[in-house]
């Protein structure tokens, strides 16, 4: 997939792209379409085109490899958790209407907070599951609302969940999303998992991944769970632990 971004400098454009797409800067290829250096009185402008590798769980590093490990990878892929049974999802152009007072309050809270941050926003119901409520934030400043590696949207989501608890809905997990960030982040984590497994296998040395929240770590663990020669373990303290990917050898 190809996206275009524009910034004052090349770096700024790339960072915007990373935040917007929810990827690390080394996870996509950048092509510079247009570049004007900034002068003394003139702002520079750089337009980039970003090529995102197809991430349907088949990282390029695995291609052509035909040993049993690759087969195992494929098996693991098909074990994506099943869709929960009761799930209602908004169509792209047709949001779900709030069902009750609680949903109305959650929508109002989210829209109000993001708007007060300085980013006028519209919030709608994205999906309903038995224990989850997904809300979609629409704003012109998605990159800022999401933040680097989802820092901002995760902070908003944490507070939204505390608020939901105060309204008496401890049983429900609130998921905030904007421009499909959650799905894109999940795909990028699956890719990170496979790529680090491949590197660990090649070099025999373990890798310590960047700090991640429990949800993100779980994606790494479950992605690599079925690969027999690879082991994953969380290290560190607190909310943001790091996953270590280790080679166990073939058995």
């Amino acid at each position: 997939m190809i996206y275009e971004f524009e910034g004052k400098t090349e770096r700024e454009a790339i960072e915007m792209a990373a935040a917007e797409l929810g990827l690390e800067t080394d996870e996509f290829d950048v092509e510079i379409v247009e570049s004007q250096a900034g002068g003394l009185f003139k702002k520079g402008k750089v337009k980039i085109r970003v090529h995102v590798r197809d991430s349907a769980g088949s990282p390029g590093t695995m291609a052509g490899e035909s040993d049993s490990a690759a087969d195992l990878d494929r098996e693991a892929e098909s074990e994506v958790p099943d869709q929960p049974e009761r799930r209602e999802k908004a169509a792209p152009d047709k949001p779900l209407l709030p069902n009750d007072e609680f949903e109305r309050k959650m929508i109002e809270w989210t829209a109000e907070v993001v708007t007060r941050m300085g980013y006028p926003a519209k919030v709608t119901v994205l999906f309903r599951e038995e224990k989850k409520l997904g809300l979609k934030i629409e704003t012109e400043n998605t990159a800022m609302v999401i933040g680097k590696k989802g820092k901002n949207i995760d902070a908003l989501q944490l507070l939204a969940n505390v608020y939901a608890g105060n309204l008496g809905r401890d049983d429900l997990k609130i998921i905030l999303d904007s421009e499909n960030y959650r799905v894109r982040r999940e795909e990028s984590l699956v890719r990170i998992a496979y790529e680090s497994a491949e590197q660990v296998r090649r070099t025999g040395r373990s890798i310590l991944l960047e700090p991640m929240n429990p949800f993100e770590r779980r994606i790494i663990h479950t992605t690599l769970n079925d690969i027999v020669d690879i082991e994953t373990k969380s290290e560190g303290e607190g909310l943001y632990k790091q996953v270590r990917v280790t080679f166990r050898g073939r058995k």
């Binding site: 941050m117 300085g118 800022m144 902070a155 944490l158 505390v162 608020y163």
Partner: protein, 77 residues
């Protein structure tokens, strides 16, 4: 603007919204927000390991205005 944002968030988190008080101290390069809540609510705005306070500060630093001026949140007890 940041004051209203923090006030809105904090009031939604505490049991005694009427006791929420925010004092704004404008500096040259930064703004300090001094937050006071009811004693019983302090834990609610700080959270386990400071998670909630950290989330509020993250949101503050993501504000449109924060690009030009730093906003510091102090929780008084």
């Amino acid at each position: 603007m940041e004051r209203d944002l923090v006030e809105y968030i904090v009031k939604s988190l505490v049991d005694e919204p009427d006791a929420v008080d925010i004092k704004v101290i404008e500096g040259e390069k930064s703004t300090i927000l001094e937050l006071k809540v009811a004693e019983a609510d302090i834990g609610k705005v700080i959270g386990k390991n400071g998670r909630i306070a950290r989330a509020i500060r993250t949101i503050l630093s993501a504000c449109a205005n924060a690009q030009s001026k730093r906003v510091i949140l102090e929780i008084l007890d």
